[in-house]
């Protein structure tokens, strides 16, 4: 087997080496499969590794390269979150209710990657139905953080982030409903992009909270995130929330806003100090830093934890043990629904469904769901107004580094508080990226933390531009 340094490898470098015939897609795939074999027993990033399928993909990619049919991702081995459909492969959303469910079509993002000749390594672990923040809600056991295996990788795309950080995939797809790409990327020390809502098709992504969900890449560098994003973005007639293709507007005022009043409490001291250090790096790189006010940001987490369960309870009503998935046999159809759902869904999923049912119920929906919807609109407007004055807004990705396994599982509200800096982005539908800029020490170990940049709708280019500057300054 060829000796390939997976630790430092990026898509950009692999593309160069594959095109220069320094190694083949089969060599590269074998290197990743060997690393998975060696390390995934302890990390548990994957729910299933498609060894034979990956080798067949790699052979096809090598034939494409030999014939000159080369795309940016031809022969690149990637991992896919378990809630994205690949025709003929099991997709379970890490739930028992879909344990044996085989996808019957390709998600649009998968069809696009197949056209480029991507190698699919396997499906990655996640919080069941993308509900959580630690990957501990998987029905198949938690994933461990490659930087400290006693800690969580974050979630819900924890398997995808751990796979990239642990050199078990060159890139991965995740989905981000309230921070589910950015938070695990921050905890694992990799790059995670949540695109503008509507820029990447959700067709073939299992719906959690439909107005918040978005597929995006997890990679080792900004350039790699851009390559994967360019490959998967675009209008899709199969997704009614897909946005028409337009070229991005690109301003160059070099002004970045910081919502200072939002950083006054609930954040670890060293995480805040590191954030300020990165802000100074941006000043040194010629950016102007200004304070911005987003008055309704303080309500984001509460608004999110009303809208999310409301949409989740509605979306998950489709899993009833009749057409597909797990069924518990019972005398009547009603009991089949109730028992199949009770046994098929895990505790957090059941909690969200019931909370969602409550906030949508007669007598309470006006005070909860409708008010949250109105506040969401004000939060969106706060961002739109702020971006009239600045190119980007900076926030830490998370208030803490990765926490230890089991430390938040008995207190759902404590787990929700970890999402404080990421959920406003999903409520507003704007794009954001988490960049690994620093580490902080916990229990003698250096743990990565993320720096989050947020841009106006459809201005992903600004995130890549500032992100590249930060990457170079490290």
């Amino acid at each position: 087997m060829k000796n390939i340094d997976l630790e430092t490898l990026t898509i950009v470098e692999a593309r160069r080496a594959l095109d220069a015939r320094e190694y083949s897609a089969v060599d590269l795939t074998d290197a990743y499969l060997a690393e998975i074999e060696k390390r995934d027993q302890s990390l548990h990033a994957y729910l299933e590794v498609w060894t034979e399928g990956a080798k067949a993909d790699a052979l096809r990619a090598d034939a494409m390269i030999a014939s000159g049919d080369i795309h940016p991702l031809t022969g690149i081995p990637i991992a896919v979150k378990d809630n994205i459909l690949i025709d003929g492969c099991v997709a379970s959303s890490a739930s028992k209710i879909l344990e044996h469910y085989t996808a019957v079509y390709d998600a649009t993002v998968i069809a696009k990657l197949k056209e480029q000749g991507v190698v699919f390594l396997g499906r990655t672990n996640m919080d069941e139905f993308a509900l959580g923040g630690s990957t501990e809600n998987s029905a198949y056991g938690p994933t461990h953080n490659p930087h400290d295996e006693s800690r969580v990788p974050g979630g819900t795309s924890g398997g995808s982030a751990a796979a990239v950080a642990g050199n078990l995939a060159l890139a991965a797809l995740g989905s981000d409903t309230g921070g589910s790409i950015r938070q695990p990327a921050a905890f694992c020390g990799v790059v995670g992009l949540k695109p503008t809502y509507g820029n990447v098709s959700r067709y073939g992504l299992m719906a959690a909270a439909s107005s918040l969900d978005q597929i995006g890449p997890i990679t080792k560098s900004i350039a790699d995130a851009r390559i994967v994003y360019d490959a998967i973005k675009g209008y899709d007639s199969h997704d009614s929330t897909s946005l028409p293709d337009v070229s991005n507007t690109f301003a160059t005022t070099k002004r970045i806003g910081v919502p200072r009043s939002f950083l006054e409490k609930g954040i670890d001291t060293d995480v805040l100090a590191s954030f300020e250090k990165t802000i100074q790096d941006l000043v040194s790189a010629g950016y102007e830093i200004v304070d911005v006010e987003l008055p309704n940001l303080q309500y984001s987490l509460a608004v999110y934890y009303i809208i999310n369960p409301a949409e989740v309870s509605t979306n998950l009503a489709r899993y009833d043990g009749v057409r597909y998935g797990t069924r518990v046999d019972a005398p009547s159809i009603g009991e089949i629904y109730e028992q199949s759902r009770a046994q098929g869904f895990g505790p957090e999923t059941r909690r969200r469904i019931l909370t969602g049912t409550f906030v949508l119920s007669a007598g309470y929906s006006d005070a909860h769901y409708r008010k949250a919807r109105a506040l969401r609109e004000l939060i969106r407007k706060d961002f739109v107004d702020a971006f009239k004055d600045v190119d980007a807004i900076a926030l830490p990705t998370t208030p803490t580094p990765a926490f230890t396994l089991g430390s938040h599982t008995t207190d759902p509200v404590a787990m929700y508080l970890e999402d404080i800096f990421t959920v406003p982005v999903n409520l507003a539908g704007v794009p954001a990226i988490s960049i690994p800029t620093d580490t902080v020490e916990r229990d003698g170990k250096q743990l990565p933390i993320g720096f989050q940049l947020i841009a106006a709708h459809r201005n992903e280019n600004i995130l890549f531009d500032i992100g590249s500057t930060l990457e170079k300054s490290k």
């Binding site: 009503a317 009749v322 759902r341 019931l354 409550f358």
Partner: protein
Amino acid sequence: MTEPVVDIDTLATLARLAITGIEKAKLANEIPQILAFVDIIQSANVGDAPADTAHRNVMRDDTNVIETGLYTEKLIAEALSAANNRIVVKQVVSRTR
């Protein structure tokens, strides 16, 4: 706002979810905690902000975009009980209870 009364049995019935006694006691404690946590929105002044943003018409022409039978075999293969290219379900409506 007064503390909402959370009836777990009613919610479970509405959500078609069987809940055991132990879990019921746990949820009866946790769901009010979550509702207390999100109750901060009651102090927000939303003025006349609309609960729904402007919509864009995404309706397509009323044409048959899916060829009949294209996915039937694959979908039936996923069904838990099937016969004659149909999904078999328990009786939904009955004359007597």
